[in-house]
Amino acid sequence: MSGYLFLIPLLPLLGFVLNFAVGTRLAKPKPFVTAVAWSTVALSLLLSIFAVIEAAGSPGHQIGQVLFSWIPGGMAETVAGPRPFAIDWALRVDPLSSVMLMVVCGVGFLIHVYAAGYMAHDPGYARFFSYLNLFMFSMLTLVMGANYLVLFVGWEGVGLCSYLLIGFWYHKQSAADAGKKAFIVNRVGDAFFLIGLFTLFVNFGSLDFATLTAALAGGHAEAGWDGPLTFAALMLFLGACGKSAQVPLYVWLPDAMEGPTPVSALIHAATMVTAGVYMVARSSALYVLAPDALMVVALVGAFTAIFAASIGLVQTDIKRVLAYSTVSQLGYMFLACGVGAFSAGVFHLGTHAFFKALLFLCAGSVIHAMSGEQELPKMGGLRKKLPWTHATMLIGCIAIAGIPPLAGFFSKDEILWLAFSHGGYGQLVWAVGLVTAGMTAFYMFRLYHLTFSGSFRGTHEQEHHLHESPKVMTIPLALLAVGAVTAGLLGIPAALGGSNWIEHFLHPAIASLGGHGAAAGHDGGHGTELLLMGVSIAVAAAGIGLAWMLYGSADLSRAEGLAKTFAPAHRLLLNKYWVDELYGALFVRGVALGGGHALHGTDKLFVDGGGGEVKPGLGVNGLAWFTRDVISKLSNLWDRYVVDGLVNLTGHAFDNGSYYARHLQNGFVQHYILYSAMGVLLLVGLTRLATY
């Protein structure tokens, strides 16, 4: 009974088609478009719940559906002999995709509801919701695909939707630039991802998750950097770096904030950007056999976490702070995967989806109230004016800061503990993660205080317009806040008397690192774990306290003084380490445009030989000139003097010859007889000569 699975992604696709083809043409699109968009996503949510329950109760904890043979390609050489490159359009629901389905459909539905309020007055209302539905289709394909290529369809599909939605207000230059940047940077990751897929196919003859997992299971971990598993794992990870905004491909995500805020919440916080984490967790069977690749994942994740958090400390645009926070939290998830704690990474993915979506939607509500203002220095003192937004945002901030018993605490602490107990590089990334946790608490409460505490710093007009958002926006906030408070309860660790339900639930879909690490920690005493928990709570509290000291009142002079004292560092962070400038100079203007101009010049100057005309010189034009003006002139001369000369000579010969010959025809018969006799004599003489 899994024949309905295809409907889960298909329904939003139908919604897209309806809203795009019909909705955009309606004079008053709102009721129709809203009904289509909400109902298709709601139905997908219901079917997903159904599928998740069914999968949980099925043998092997999964259900699947093969729709049709998609790419029946021909044979290709693989390590094990020739194999057909045959890809089915196949869907699957297992514990890992179940978690993703719930996050995507659940958070996705709430954001659809919220967006109806947020985008109510936008002339592109129908277009917006059609893109949003298209995104749901792609994202659901991504998480339900039963092989890497169907996953890749969703992977590129969400990239397209991201492009369209970042550039939704396409008349703005900055939005158009950001959309294009997002797509192209993602494509860089995708190129590596494809290489990873090919490596897997050539080594295992399949791209199907189940087949690959079976082939990998029980294999030996690869030692050294040059093995195919490590290579494939690294290539896939580079793909994940693009989609999930990790160093060095994170640069597109902060710019992506040009899109409408519901888009930032749904795509650039809760769902799409977590696709990389999902994919790495999905490939856990591969990663556990490639410990070197795993270490790279952990180190890149940890570095990204602290790097992005440091930028987030000083940003002044409310959405950019949240964007860098997202990059940082995604780094956390990769950090988890990198120490083999895939379940903890996915757990954090889930809790993060709730509190970060909540934070973005709250930010959207603030921006809505501030008539589009996004600069934190212009806000302040909004607590009274926006009570719902204030309350829910506070919950979101506490959750992300890692204060128990809110969601972020459990998932973050699980990651830190598993990193610590992993040993080796795990303790390094644990330390980095801990510092990052403190920074996170600081910048989130900085954001909170700058928005809600102190006194209002904007214009009178803005102050006059301040208003709490409508119910259609605040109810989703409340529901997400409930999620941000309770989602962590799914993973209460054994040390606190819980059962860590989420890890047990995910277990059938996730491969675990053999030997030391996670398991060992769980069996031993909980003393260390509880101690570390205390340390991380203390660090978070310190971060919150510092933020309160600096930004908690109307007087911001202490913060300004601090920025002055450390002016160079402040500038470095404010300018985001000038990475965008560096990439721009190096890759965009250097390699791409510089290379393009240079090669175009080569084409014109050397291949063609310059100018759009036939002329002497090198290259094609020179050759043409040589043919036309030299060879043809030479042959003209040849024709005139040699060929024509011969012709004329012949003509002259006959002309003059006949002049003399005509004397023979003089009409005297006796002369004719004489000639005849001479001729006969000549012939006889010649015959005589010949016979000798």
Binding site: P72, T78, A80, P82, F85, D177, F183, I184, A624
Partner: protein
């Protein structure tokens, strides 16, 4: 029905010739009538080719719909038509784009209407004939027949620098084809060694496939064919005629040029170079792969900096054809099938892109990118269809380009991972140049006042683009019916070039094709020259 079935290829090929002849009748001197008649022959030309889709036996070996008549028996030249899956798909593409090319000229061509359509129809004859011919002289005749109408289409109805472009196109490809003819003749003289052809020799491809060609001759003939085909593709460094020809050609000329004419080169490799010269093919793999990869990256970078839309699309074609060549010289079935599928894909999406540019040119009489911006606001339908074709061209999944690219890259990786490492950069750059173009034309504010009053595309223009858009989705979502045409011939071709390598029962990669033994120079009908056992 039997008559149709037995002479199907001749009917498809010469139907446009009939059209051209009819157009020359006095009543069609009138532009309106000529236009109507040309469109009639365009549409019916496509319809008569449709039986190929239904009647072609996708599981059968060898050539189908074969027609064979004596032509010049004393020289072993015959009128020999026949197709396999590759030619079947390319013929369908040709008749489709031919129909669209005629239809899209509806309002664009107002000068010398009748002769314009006559040339288009004649071009059609040449192109279809090339895909049908199994006799090399017949092939060569059609090959040259194509050149002339194209020369006039560019030279008469082209842009400002049309004469330079036309002559460059004509001479460049003529040089190539003359050298190719030398290669054909070399094989012809070799064919006198075939039993039964001692006196006349033969130009029959099916016979040539049975004769062994000595290694050194293979090398020379491969080089001769290479020049002819590589110029046509065009491969780096023979590509510079293409941007010029495209920028100057009228829209329909560009559509046909990109959609079909470029496929002549790639088709030539698949049909002749690979199966006839397997030993040389293997020897030249490094060179071919290198040139293909240079083509992909080089042309993509040059595309990035173009300021003229048509030139941009033209350079992107060079890059895309690099993918086609790379997949082909991966020499495995997946790469070969992907390569041929990508020929079709490129015809659809790039053909569509030239239509797109043409529509804008008709409105604004410029192709300079900087003259546009913000068009999404005034031309929403046009913007949407353009985006779909752009995405198809850059290989987004669920559109046709992805299926072809992923098969090609898979094949390339399986043959030599290094090729794939370099070639994937093409898909990054592909996204870059197309999205940047899209941004500059459609996004942002309207900066030129004259663009504010642009009309969105009309029903006729939508109808022109629709078949291409539908096919882009079809091949992207469900390519199986198309790939079914290619499975058999490509598996056989791969087997022919590298025998035993793709036998699924065989073990790991071991088999390396042996060069065809070089038979000693022997008198006619030496028993040493046996039919190729691989056939």
């Amino acid at each position: 029905m039997d008559f149709l079935r037995e002479n199907l290829l001749s009917i498809i090929t010469f139907w446009p010739l009939l059209g051209a002849a009819v157009l020359l009748l006095p009543p069609f001197k009138d532009a309106v009538r000529a236009r109507a008649a040309a469109n009639f022959f365009g549409v019916t030309g496509f319809l008569v080719s449709l039986p190929l889709w239904f009647w072609f036996d996708r599981g059968a070996d060898g050539f189908q719909f074969v027609e064979r008549h004596e032509w010049i028996p004393s020289l072993g030249i015959s009128y020999h038509f026949g197709i396999d899956g590759v030619s079947a798909l390319l013929i369908l593409l040709t008749t489709l784009l031919g129909m669209i090319g005629i239809y899209c000229s509806w309002s664009a061509i107002t000068d010398r209407v009748r002769s314009y359509y006559v040339f288009l129809l004649l071009l059609q004859v040449g192109m279809i004939g090339v895909f049908c011919a199994l006799d090399l002289i017949l092939f060569y005749v059609f090959w040259e027949v194509m050149l002339v109408p194209m020369y006039f289409l560019i030279g008469i109805w082209g842009g400002e620098n049309r004469l330079y472009a036309a002559i460059k196109f004509f001479l460049y490809t003529l040089v190539g084809s003359v050298v190719m003819l030398l290669g054909i003749l070399a094989l012809y003289f070799r064919s006198r060694l075939l039993p039964g052809f001692e006196q006349t020799g033969t130009f029959d491809l099916t016979k040539w496939l049975e004769m062994g060609v000595p290694a050194d001759l293979q090398i020379w003939v491969f080089l001769a064919f290479f020049l002819g085909f590589a110029i046509k593709v065009p491969m780096f460094p023979f590509h510079t005629w293409l941007p010029d020809a495209h920028t100057q050609a009228p829209t329909a000329g560009s559509v046909i040029l990109a959609g079909v004419l470029l496929k002549m080169g790639t088709y030539g490799f698949v049909r002749f170079s690979l199966p006839l010269l397997p030993y040389a093919t293997l020897q030249f793999v490094p060179l071919m792969a290198t040139l293909s990869i240079i083509g992909i990256v080089y042309a993509a970078l040059v595309t990035l900096v173009q300021t003229d839309m048509k030139k941009l699309v033209a350079y992107s074609s060079v890059s895309h054809l690099g993918f086609v060549m790379l997949g082909m010289f991966a020499l495995n079935p997946v790469g070969l099938s992907g390569s041929v599928l990508q020929m079709i894909n490129h015809g659809l999406s790039t053909g569509g892109l030239f239509l797109i540019v043409g529509m804008l040119y008709e409105r604004r009489h410029t192709k300079e990118i900087s003259r546009f911006g913000g068009l999404a606001k005034v031309m929403p339908i046009y913007a949407t269809l353009t985006l779909i074709l752009f995405l198809a061209s850059m290989g987004l999944p669920l559109l046709n380009g992805f299926v072809g690219e992923v098969m090609i890259l898979m094949g390339a990786y399986a043959a030599n991972p290094l090729w794939a490492y370099f070639a994937v950069s093409g898909i990054v750059l592909g996204a870059a140049y197309l999205l940047w173009l899209y941004q500059r034309v459609f996004w942002g504010e309207i900066t030129h006042e004259e663009n504010r009053s642009l009309q969105d595309i009309n029903t006729r223009e939508i109808v022109t683009l629709m078949p291409l858009v539908v096919l882009c989705f079809w091949i992207g979502v469900y390519p199986k019916p198309f790939l079914a045409f290619l499975d058999k011939p490509m598996a056989q071709l791969a087997e022919r070039v590298q025998p035993g390598r793709f036998d699924p029962t065989g073990g790991p990669r071991t088999a390396v094709a042996q060069p065809v033994p070089d038979p000693p120079v022997t008198p006619v009908s030496d028993p040493a020259v046996v039919p190729d056992p691989n056939r």
